[in-house]
Each structure stands twice: as structure tokens, then as C-alpha cells.
Symmetry: C2
Subunit: 391 residues, 2 copies
């Protein structure tokens, strides 16, 4: 087990009707003027935005708002928010939505008190040291951004999709999580979210760090719970219990607990970021295509942990050969992903002729000559994985 710091100060306020606590929570964290950030019209139509504003009114908290954040969020919306927030002298960010909305709010929270261009942090030119406090009202369980210190933004110029990771600065101070708010999520978005959270666990699980039994068992348990609950949320979208389990799993998948003491991989996420940056597909759907391809490559070249995953998560009976055990686990993962409506190939993702050369070039331009840790990928390896995903 490696040395680690584990710091998750976010207060999770979980359950029915919890959004009415939003104003009180902001007050407890000394917010006095809030920028509410949201995406499309669904939070308006559902009445959620009104309920949240009412909660702020009741707590005597002033606010301005900015809607219109898109999936795979881009930098222009961040600049708009920074400009608005400075003009209005806001001191607290309140994203109401899913990962795209939260990540945009995080970038704004960093940008407002910073004299330079907020992109400096994503480009690795500056290290984040301070940000305005962020509270979250979550509506989409997927990205785990409500409990993480991370933010993913795409710079339109060059389609650079970059993940910024901070150990502390960008952790929300609270996250309001009412599973009822997810009842109206369409099946496709629900399934993309499930795939994303499973990937967050697996990016951490596939490592070479010896003797991380506690972390392994937590990750395996969480994956098993997601696999059990996934068909239920899809067949019964208003099943509170199933929605609650999936929502809480999405947070734990990405708040860091599944990576304690491990050297995490993350190659699949980086490979997917190039796909969604170029083709603007859903991140979760892109992961459903890339992760099994990555695993198939690993089953051949470094099967150790993939075989353990097959046995413990997918109940595969061990074969004499680790490669075969691993492949059977991957087959069960693929069957599961298909069963929840996810694509498994570029073709199924709607990309008939992917420009693999471009994806490989962008991946290594952004991430260096080798990508990932479990088995670091050079250009040849990443090309092979994109090609597996194209068959």
C-alpha cells in the first residue's frame, strides 16, 4: 500500500426533500451572494430551480443566475460566469445539475479570484490555491464531481478536453442529493451515468500496487451494488430505493475512497476524453466503448488484476489461465453494458469511421508519450486499443 492523504470535507445531505436545506447550508458556509449555475431547461421545468431559489430567499441570501451550460462543457461559458460573478461580487457558487454544471462552476470559482486566465490551471501553468466555496444540488449521478476536487473543461480552440485534479481546493463544501430529482432522467443518461461511475472505480482498481486489500474489497463491493441496482433504475425509473443506491454509489466511486493507497490508471478516461472532445458523444457512452477495449488489451498483456476483477466482481470461476479468466469477466461486463443500452464499438456509438490517427495524436500530445499506469500505453498500444474498439 502506498502512502496517501485522504481528505473529503464535503458534507453530503442525502435524501428526500433535502434541496429545501440549500439556503441554510449556504448560510452556514457564510455565502451571502450566490451565482446559481445550471444547464438546460429541465431544472426550470421540473420546478427544482424555483424550490432552490425559495430556499435562498427564506435564508435571506441574494443570488444571480447563469443557465445554458452544455454537456462536455466548454470554456466560453466559464468566461461568461467569471465575468458575471465579478460584476455581481458573488462569494459562493451553487451549481444545480450534473457534472458539466458542477465542473463549470468549479472553473468559475477558481477564475474569479485569479488575476490571469482560468485556463492556466487546466493547462498546468498555475497551481490552484484558492477558489470561492462551492455547494452543489445534484441532479445526475455520474461524474462524481459533487464529492471530488476535479473539474473537466474543454477548450474550444483545439478541442482540448482537460481534467484538472486538486486534492482540496475544489471539493464542494456541501452536496445536496435527493434521489427523487433523478426520477425523470432518461434511460440513456441514466445508463451513461452508471457506466461513468463504474469506470471511476475501475480506473482506480486496475493498479499494480501490492496489498491494497481494503481498497480492493470496497471497490468490488461498490461495483457489485451498482451491477445489482442498474437494471432496477432502468426498468423502474421512479424506484426511490434503486435511485438512491445508484446516486450514493456515484459519489463514493469518485470521492477518492476507492483509490486509497493505490497508483491509479486513468488511461481509459484520457482515451475517452479525446473521443468526446472530437465527436461530442456522451462521456459515459464513450467509456462503454473504450473500457472493454482497454481491458481486452490488458487481458492479453497484463491479465493479473483483470482476472481478480472477473472472479470477485463478475463471479467467474477461475480458469487455469488468467487470460481466459480475464476474458470471461470482460465478456460479462460487455453483456451488462449492452443490457443497459450502452454501445460497445465506435460503430454503435454512431462513429462509423473514427479518425484513429487523430485520436492517438491528440491523446499523446495532451498526455505525453505514455499514458496510464497499470500498463503504460505508448502510441502503438493506444492505437491498438482504439482499433479493438472499432471491431
Amino acid at each position: 500500500m502506498n502512502n496517501f492523504n485522504f481528505y473529503t470535507p464535503t458534507e453530503f445531505v442525502f435524501g428526500k426533500d433535502t434541496e429545501i436545506q440549500t439556503g441554510t447550508l449556504i448560510k452556514a458556509h457564510r455565502g451571502s451572494k450566490v451565482l446559481i449555475v445550471y444547464g438546460g431547461g429541465s431544472v426550470v421545468r421540473s420546478g427544482l430551480l424555483s424550490r432552490v431559489k425559495q430556499s435562498l430567499d427564506t435564508a435571506n441570501i441574494a443570488y444571480v443566475e447563469m443557465g445554458g451550460v452544455q454537456p462536455n462543457p466548454t470554456d466560453p461559458k466559464v468566461y461568461e460566469g467569471i465575468s458575471l460573478g465579478r460584476k455581481e461580487k458573488i462569494d459562493f457558487l451553487l451549481p444545480v445539475g450534473g457534472g458539466s454544471v458542477i465542473d463549470t462552476a468549479k472553473a468559475i470559482a477558481l477564475g474569479i479570484p485569479y488575476e490571469g486566465d482560468f485556463w492556466d490551471f487546466y493547462a498546468g501553468i498555475s497551481i490552484p490555491e484558492k477558489a470561492l466555496p462551492i455547494g452543489v444540488v445534484l441532479t445526475i449521478p455520474a461524474a462524481g464531481s459533487e464529492g471530488s476536487g476535479n473539474s473537466v473543461i474543454t477548450k474550444l480552440d483545439g478541442l482540448k478536453k482537460i481534467s484538472l485534479r486538486t486534492p482540496k481546493v475544489l471539493r464542494p463544501v456541501f452536496a445536496v442529493m435527493n434521489p427523487e430529482l433523478t426520477f425523470t432522467l432518461p434511460s440513456w443518461q441514466t445508463a451513461c451515468g452508471i457506466t461513468d461511475m463504474m469506470a471511476h472505480i475501475m480506473e482506480r482498481y486496475f493498479n499494480n500496487t501490492p496489498e491494497v486489500e481494503v481498497t480492493d474489497r470496497l471497490s468490488e463491493g461498490l461495483l457489485k451494488a451498482i451491477i445489482d441496482e442498474a437494471p432496477r433504475v432502468l426498468s423502474e425509473p421512479e424506484n426511490y430505493e434503486a435511485r438512491a443506491n445508484i446516486m450514493w454509489a456515484g459519489t463514493l466511486a469518485h470521492n477518492g475512497i476507492c483509490g486509497t493507497g493505490c497508483e491509479e490508471d486513468w488511461a481509459s478516461h484520457f482515451m475517452e476524453h479525446e473521443i468526446s472532445a472530437v465527436y461530442d458523444v456522451s462521456h459515459g457512452a464513450g467509456l462503454a466503448v473504450i473500457f472493454p477495449a482497454w481491458l481486452t488489451y490488458m487481458a492479453e498483456h497484463h491479465p493479473e488484476k483483470v482476472a481478480q476483477y472477473a472472479i470477485r466482481v463478475w463471479n467467474v470461476s477461475p480458469h487455469a489461465d488468467k487470460h481466459a479468466t480475464a476474458l470471461e469477466g470482460i465478456a460479462r461486463l460487455k453483456a451488462f453494458l449492452h443490457s443497459i443500452g450502452m454501445p460497445l464499438t465506435f460503430h454503435e456509438l454512431g462513429i462509423d469511421e473514427p479518425d484513429i490517427e487523430l485520436l492517438v495524436n491528440k491523446l499523446h500530445a495532451n498526455k505525453g508519450d505514455v499514458v496510464g499506469k497499470y500498463l503504460p500505453l505508448d502510441r502503438n498500444a493506444s492505437k491498438q486499443i482504439y482499433e479493438i474498439a472499432n471491431t
Copy 2:
């Protein structure tokens, strides 16, 4: 799943040599004058106390110290610490030790800024609202106090052993956790700690809350990891990896994550507190006697979750009858506890003629007419469980 708040702001600094960061961590949390609290001479003899002091010196942090905290800590030491801390105008508590030392420091942290008697909080007369900040250097993985908001103190007058639970106020701001510091723990203490952490998970796991699959799977995974690692730490006390897994498991067993969304039980802990208050036995050893007795009673009267536990944690093949499945799981738990050197009866605990009447009287005087939530125990039920432990 029930609504819940989950808030764990403690920064866990885990791994080799981490104790040299203590001074820097206190400084980051604005401590300027520290009360170091410790127990017997082992932290002195091992050189740990010197290294910690050196770290404080390097960070220019002043300190005073109080040693001599005993297992099953009592109120006189708390009063001594409050008096010393006020006189020296300390603003930060640094327990260096295990649960008894941490819990004493927590009581002192509450008592110093409070005008009345600190026992008011344990007696339920006052609600804790503020405390001095606490940082921990952990040497015994067991109580989980390094990551919890709880503190257990025994009032000598009447031998009242009371657990105070706060959602926020008593959570340490940091916990330094170096598994190497546990290499010298004797087998008995190691095994008592393992039993205590398993009990912390099980007190939460045995509940009637429907549909807590995520929490169940995390708890089962953590129990499986502990069961795998326990024989290794006992046979190879200087095995860093095994010690590290057990140490991290002890924290996660009690920081609240294993109880999210559940109505927890805690009857076994309350029943044990009466035993260790009256007979001054090790808390973990007392739990090894009580928990299987409690489970045996539940196997007969409310086997549902006990059967699930048997199947998922102890790999029992389900019998047609839940009672039989449950009993087989309990048999495996008992065999495990024996294998790590724990007692299973009052006699093996060194108490040949337990005063069960006294224990039942004290239990219900302290905790009310019914105790626990999974199947609330009246006097007749708690008496039967103490008697099962006496056979």
C-alpha cells in the same frame, strides 16, 4: 434507505514516516499551543513522543503534555487535562495513542471552553457545540476514534461508561496514521482491536432499513478484508502491508460510511460497556463474548440479516432455513475469533461468576427500557443474551 448526513472532514495522512508531518499539520490548522495527551510509557520508550515533539519544535509550536491515560479511560484524567489546558492556555489537542487517549483528549477539548462540568455532555444535559481542534497520531487501530465524532468515558462514581456521539464537533481535523507504529502492539491488543473494528461494522450492518445495498456491500467488503488480513498481522507483526490494511480498515469501520442510510443497532456495544465498566476487561475482548451471543439470540428471533451476513461475509451456502444459515455464519465468526485468541464466554474472559443481574440493571438504567434497534432488547432479552455468553 433513510435520509442521512455524511460529513467526515478529517484529513487522513497515512503511511510510513507520516508522524514527522505533525507540526506542519497543526500549523495549518492554526494551533499555537498544544496539549499532547498520551497513555503509558510505550510512546516514550519507542521514541515516538520524541519524534512528534521534534516535529512541533521544527514548526515552532509550543506544547505541554499529560501522560498516564489508562485503558477504559475515566473522568479524573479528563478533569486533570482541562485544568492543565486552561492554566497553560492551550488551543489544540494532540492525542498520541489509541482510542482511550483520543477519547480523553476529546473530552478535554469539549471541557476547556465549557463553563459547566464536562460530564454534562456525556450525561445528556448539554449538547456539544464547540470544542478545541484535535489532531491525532494513532498507534492502535481499534476504536476508530481518529475518524469519528465519538468519545467514550467512564465516570468512576457509579462506573458509568458512556458513549458521546457528535456529528461534527469532535471529528479530529487530522489523523496521522503510520502502520509501522503498530508493529510492536502485542497479539492480544491487536486481536482486541480487530474485534472492535469488526463490531463497529456489524453494529451498523444489522439493521432493518430496506434497500441499503451500497452500504451493505461496503460493510461486507471491509469485513472480508479484515478477516483475510487478521491472521497475517498476528503471525507476522512486522508485516507492513497487513498492518496497513488493518489500520485503514479500523478507521473506515467507524467513520460512518458503513452506516449511511441505515438505522444502526449498537446493543452489543452498550451491553459490553457494562462488562468493561464493572470488570475492567478489554473492550474488544468483551465484544468477542457479547457479539456472538447477541447474534445467536437474533438467529432465533430475527434471522433475516444474520443469514445474509453468513452468506456474503462467511461464504456459507444458504440452507433452506434462515435460522440454520445464520447459525453456520455465527459458528464461523466464533471459530475466527478463537483463532485470533479472543475469548467467547465470560469464563474465557476471566469472569467466572458474572453478576448478570447487575449488568442488566446497569444496562437498562443507562440506556432505557429497550436497547438497540435491529430487535430492541427488553430486560428479559438482554438477560438471555448475557446468559448465552455465560454458557
